[in-house]
């Protein structure tokens, strides 16, 4: 039973005073959490909602009627009759002094620090710190070195909050990090010759409140305030971790996890985090080709239209990276060509990992398998796929349209490549070049997961909204969502092109599994497909 559950199942409440106001919060909350519910944000460095309470930075001190000295609000719990002042003279001067201490040895290297702009120390210094230092002695020098293949420490910037150490102890369970030395010489380090090299290591850089831990991947790459941010979902595995894709001038610079307590908490794995590099790899396709000759983007759509308008029944080979919206369009095409058939390929499994915190990396690397099964039936990757492959190998179909996405996957296997090349007319949407393009009639560049706009269903059946890293109109080629609609318009099976939200509305209206859902109600944690948003709005979202 939770600490604040009473016998009759209700939540016990505690009445206390916050800055002179009588307030109530569930019993057992800390002052910091409770104050946040009333709109008062108490500053913190070492506190992180996903980690244990360390209480070592002292910036969150507030004045209490129960103590002669100020108390730290991250660990002190609310209690009946407690009176807390966050803006009293004592509270303000305490914060001020802590800031002055924190800044004693901190270098003023914000202009060259990658954390600048998203640095807690900067923010709190601006808000709570003194505007000058009384410290006239020499600042301490601490080590700057690589801690692992992807992470370095700039020791001078470290404020010894121990967030990264608690992360490695509690979340990844690998315990590579420690504080060495003591007092003002203390700094984060690893045991000699045991680098920090776990699958979640990148998160330590995110939670570092200052620029002490720096990711090699992002070092000197961009100033954070210049980047565009999109709320996306990682397509690396079937978990569907919520991520923020940050771009500079249209190029992806960094992926950061986005809080979703239902899926990934505050974390993501390094494979997904650094996987964006594959978007710019040499084998990435951005150019359409017809029988090996480069085609302009418009002509590619026209060629697609011509090939399909002349075709009889079409075989569609889908991948589990397509969004529900793209799948809905494929289904529309299949329905318009009588005798057509749909099957799907699945990428090879990876290695699953379970961490002490409950964070999981799924062995299954298919972000929207569930979506495909709801749209095309649960045999789309099973029997239907086996049948389709047989039919293709024996050249039962004249035309095949195949989707070969997933920038992290090794693509459809050899048997599919053989099946595709046995078909006279093969149209292949591919994210990168590979053996499956052998002898293709028309190759169209395809989007990688974080370039897609739409929805995915993760392995728990959670419907999640993912947004493209590109700003509308800056895509380097027609994305599938647009190209498939243009094609449908030309073939006369659609009247006008819609946004992803519009396509989703169509899907929800036509498929019972999705009924009642719409983009705008998905919010940031997403929704289980089985839980309908409150107040079913059939007209859907307006995004």
């Amino acid at each position: 039973m939770a600490e604040n559950q009473t016998n009759d199942g209700t939540v016990a409440m505690t009445s206390w005073q916050l800055n002179g106001q009588e307030v109530e919060n569930p019993t057992g909350m800390t002052i910091m959490e409770a104050a946040k519910e009333h709109g008062i944000e108490i500053p913190c460095f070492c506190y992180h909602p996903g980690l244990s309470i360390a209480g070592n930075c002292r910036i969150c001190m507030v004045e209490s009627n129960r103590s002669r000295k100020p108390v730290i609000s991250c660990s002190e719990k609310i209690a009946d009759g407690l009176e807390i002042e966050t803006e009293s003279e004592l509270a303000v001067s305490s914060r001020n002094s802590v800031m002055e201490f924190q800044l004693i040895n901190h270098p003023l290297d914000c202009p060259v620090c990658d954390k600048a702009g998203e640095c807690t120390l900067q923010d709190h210094s601006y808000e709570h710190g003194p505007d000058r230092s009384r410290f006239v002695e020499d600042k301490n020098i601490r080590h700057t070195k690589e801690l692992g293949p992807n992470i370095s420490i700039w020791g001078n910037r470290c404020i010894v909050c121990t967030r990264c150490i608690r992360f490695c102890d509690e979340i990844s369970g690998t315990s590579e990090l420690c504080i060495v030395e003591r007092g003002d010489r203390s700094v984060v380090d690893v045991f000699p010759e045991i680098p920090i090299d776990n699958q979640l290591a990148g998160n330590t850089v995110d939670i570092c409140p200052v620029g002490a831990l720096i990711s090699h991947d992002f070092k000197y790459e961009a100033r954070v305030w210049n980047m565009d941010r999109k709320d996306s979902v990682c397509g690396g595995c079937s978990r569907g971790c919520n991520v923020e894709v940050e771009t500079l001038d249209g190029f992806v610079k960094r992926l950061m996890p986005r809080e979703n307590l239902e899926v990934n908490d505050w974390w993501m794995c390094d494979e997904g985090r650094y996987g964006w590099r594959h978007l710019y790899a040499d084998d990435r396709l951005s150019q359409a080709t017809r029988d090996g000759t480069a085609l302009a983007d418009d002509s590619a759509t026209a060629a697609l239209e011509q090939l399909l308008s002349e075709s009889g029944p079409v075989a569609f080979l889908i991948d589990p990276f397509l969004t529900c919206e793209e799948m809905h369009l494929v289904q529309g095409l299949a329905a318009s060509r009588p005798g057509s058939s749909v099957g799907g390929w699945l990428p090879e499994d990876g290695i699953a990992a379970n961490f002490p915190s409950g964070f999981k990396i799924s062995a299954a690397k298919y972000p929207n398998r569930a979506g495909a099964e709801h749209i095309f039936g649960d045999q789309v990757f099973g029997n239907d796929a086996t049948e389709l492959q047989k039919a293709l190998v024996s050249s039962d179909f004249n035309t095949v349209v195949a989707f070969c996405g997933g920038h992290l996957s090794s693509g459809p296997g050899e048997s599919w490549a053989k099946a595709l090349s046995s078909t006279p007319t093969s149209i292949i949407f591919s994210v990168k070049s590979g053996p499956w393009l052998e002898g293709a009639s028309l190759v169209l560049p395809a989007t990688a997961p974080i370039e897609k706009d739409g929805t995915w269903i993760n392995e728990d059946g959670r419907l999640q909204r993912t947004r493209s890293c590109w700003n509308p109109g800056t895509e380097p080629f027609s994305v599938e969502l647009v190209r498939l609609q243009t094609l449908q318009n030309a073939l006369g099976i659609r009247g006008r092109s819609l946004s992803a939200a519009g396509i989703f509305r169509e899907l929800a209206a036509n498929n019972d599994s999705f009924a009642g859902h719409n983009h705008s109600d998905l919010g940031s944690p997403g929704l289980l497909l089985s839980e309908r948003p409150a107040g079913i709005a059939m007209d859907g979202g307006s995004e």
């Binding site: 102890d169 315990s175 590579e176 990090l177 420690c178 504080i179 060495v180 030395e181 003591r182 203390s186 380090d189 690893v190 045991f191 000699p192 010759e193 045991i194």
Partner: protein
């Protein structure tokens, strides 16, 4: 890297006895490091790794503890670790002169070790022997009421001991 070192049977017995004295294994880390130090002579990377593996504690944690305390003998410390007290009483009674005399005789500054590896010189805070200032600690022994002649004599004696030990 496989560990090639291990406690001798006597030390292992002491270690097992230690475990019975503490509520958790981790709590016995400080005295176990003391055992390791006396058994192996110093605490370097292989020694810390051995203790971590033995106690099933993350090596990084052991590293953090060893570097936190100044009283452990870290790897690279000379055979004789001379720690000169430089807090108030000793400072008033001339600990600076003691340090400079040692520096002069051994050619090393505080924090350094002689190339022969016999001596390490450190300046430390109060060793709790103010009534006999100035004083220094060499390994586990106190040398008190020091005059500069006492310092010279001590160094000669230690040097003879170190070289004698080497030859023997």
């Amino acid at each position: 890297m496989a560990n090639t070192i291990s406690f001798c049977s006597e030390t292992m017995k002491q270690y097992e006895w230690l475990l019975t004295r503490y509520p958790t294994r981790r709590a016995a880390l400080l005295p176990t490091l003391r055992l390791a130090e006396s058994d192996f002579g110093e605490l370097g990377v292989p020694e810390m790794r051995y203790v971590a593996d033995l106690m099933e504690i993350p090596p990084a944690f052991v590293f953090g503890v060893v570097t936190f305390y100044t009283h452990y003998r870290r790897a690279g410390t000379g055979k004789f670790h001379i720690q000169v007290c430089s807090t108030l009483s000793c400072a008033l009674r001339g600990s600076e002169d003691v340090v400079s005399r040692i520096t002069e005789r051994l050619g090393i500054k505080p924090g350094e070790t002689t190339p022969c590896g016999h001596f390490t010189l450190s300046k430390v805070e109060c060793l709790g022997s103010c009534d006999t200032a100035p004083m220094l600690q060499c390994n586990d022994d106190y040398h008190e009421d020091l005059s500069l002649e006492d310092v010279d004599q001590l160094i000669e004696q230690l040097r003879a001991e170190a070289e004698g030990g080497q030859n023997g």
